[in-house]
């Protein structure tokens, strides 16, 4: 049959891997291969010429260090400058009713509710990026141990599975695949594209190299207008500015990560999330997870699809 044991590829079981710290990849003897491919995906992978080597996984439980950026930002924003960490984005949004902040403290103190600021939460972005990175590295280690040429259909996500509030469990799961006739690669490729999409990618002349991650986070303490106070209606700047900054950070770190290994990123799974924080404030998150690709051939056959119209109701 087609199952690939580590020995069959000539690498032998690894004795010390990059993840040697605690997390020994699964090194039990395998009598058959496992996978999380659907039947159609498995067929697509076979058509390309690859065979499944085994189901692989990387995981990491992380404490998300979000509070740091917020606390610094809170005071940095009030002063109108950035005490920030690094030189991230920060912007203050005075009261739209033009109540002065200092006046507000003295007379009635209403203005503090009207005052807003946004500050980039690079600490949160970094801890999310770290979580993904660890999960991906461990997935990669397992695939290397299996002597695989790559991993297809990687599912990359996080959830609150283990641990208390403020922790997140990161997962990377996929199916390692091998090409029986080829010597192992220096580093197996990884893609979050399904088996069928992988087949199309190869046909188009691109080969996946690895996963790329980009995260952006902006902590938003809304001013009166961004809180929806209808006495000051009209276009609001604070919310779209926070979304734009978070998205642009995610995009540029995604591109930077991909730049090292390929010419572009496809299949980006893009998530915008609003995570509620203290009071009416929130973290505006943008998370982008994609596949870095390299063009290996410029002689791809045209794939011009034929238009069809099914007659079934």
């Amino acid at each position: 049959m087609v199952g690939q044991t580590p020995d069959a590829t000539g690498t032998g079981p690894a004795t010390a891997g990059p993840g040697d710290l605690v997390f020994h990849p699964d090194t039990r003897q395998r009598s058959t291969w496992t996978s999380d491919l659907s039947v159609a995906e498995a067929a697509a992978v076979r058509r390309v010429g690859l065979v499944p080597a085994g189901f692989v996984m990387g995981t990491a439980v992380m404490q998300l260090a979000a509070a740091g950026g917020q606390l610094y930002g809170q005071w940095g924003g009030m002063m109108g400058g950035s005490l920030g960490r690094g030189n991230g984005y920060s912007e203050s949004y005075p009261c739209a009713h033009t109540y002065g902040y200092s006046t507000g403290v003295g007379l009635g103190g209403a203005a503090s509710e009207h005052y807003g600021f946004s500050v980039e939460d690079s600490v949160l972005a970094a801890s999310l990026t770290d979580g993904y990175r660890l999960a991906i590295e461990r997935l990669h280690d397992e695939a290397t141990q299996l002597g695989a040429h790559g991993v297809v259909g990687v599912d990359l996500f996080f959830e609150n599975l283990v641990g208390s509030q403020g922790t997140a469990t990161f997962f990377a799961r996929g199916t390692a695949v091998t090409h029986p006739a080829t010597a192992p690669l220096p580093s197996p490729f990884m893609t979050n594209a399904s088996g069928q999409h992988f087949e199309r990618l190869i046909a188009l002349g691109y080969v996946p190299t690895g996963l790329a991650v980009g995260v952006g986070a902006v902590y938003v303490q809304p001013n009166c207008q961004a809180r929806g106070d209808f006495t000051v209606g009209g276009a609001i700047r604070q919310i779209p500015a926070a979304i734009t900054v978070a998205r642009s950070r995610a995009r540029s770190s995604l591109a930077a990560m991909a730049h090292r290994s390929g010419e572009g990123v496809v299949h980006t799974d893009w998530t915008d999330r609003k995570v509620n924080r203290y009071g009416e404030s929130w973290d505006q998150l943008a998370i982008a997870l994609g596949t870095a690709v390299r063009r290996y051939s410029t002689e791809a056959e045209p794939l011009t699809p034929r238009p069809v119209l099914p007659l079934r109701p």
Partner: protein
Amino acid sequence: MSPSTPSTPGIGTALAALHEPFVPADQHTFVSDLTVGELVLLEEIGFRPVDIVSGAGSASWNPQFTTAGTEGTMWGRAIAAAIDNARSGILEELRTRHADGVVAMRLELERERANLLTCTMLGTAVHGTGRRPDAAHPFATTLSARDFHLLVRAGYHPVGIAIGVSVVGFAARSASQSLGLARDNVELTDQTTALYSSREKAMEMMEREAAELHADGVVEVQLQERPVNSLLTHAVEFVAVGTAVCRGSEGHKDLAPEFQLTLDDPPGVTFSDR
């Protein structure tokens, strides 16, 4: 750059390429949220991804501003401003990247509270190989990659997003009226009229926008209507967003689809459950 030697596509050559280390040069790294299938559809009609582009806009309004029988202009204008700001944001990003347009865009209208709306757009900027001479005016479109592929093959091209927004208020019924009417079968003409007139006004605005873009028509229009009924507010909101398209110089091209008859039974025929 990766090896420039032309080679036939296949897993053997692909893996051989991966054996050679990738040397990052000053290449432009494209970023896209296209699936591989979408990438194929775009490359087939001569479009290459450039970058992910985005736009966002928010606005709030005073919901009490609407009075019976009059259009809530502030309210309607606020919603239009939020969508328009998102649209100009994404167009600006397209211009800075010298892209031809954005496809497979997701457009989200998020209502955060009763009177606060945020519109976000995110999609992949594309560059066409000599398809659109009008590079100074990039297009935005609500079309998916599949629909964009079909549109271009049929001889059309998108020119922009056209929006139409209208808010129309209607008279509140008094308590005695409500009680009196509860026993009758009557049409609430005020409310029917409000719905009609908000539709009319929104479509008028959409047509005006499409005409400004010199479009032949608008496709893929998404409609959102929302009655707002509360103690202080009685209004109908109507939001329409679509893609303005132009026919190319060669006119409509027949795609001549092949009719297909699937041999499996329609659901529910063979087995009652599915």
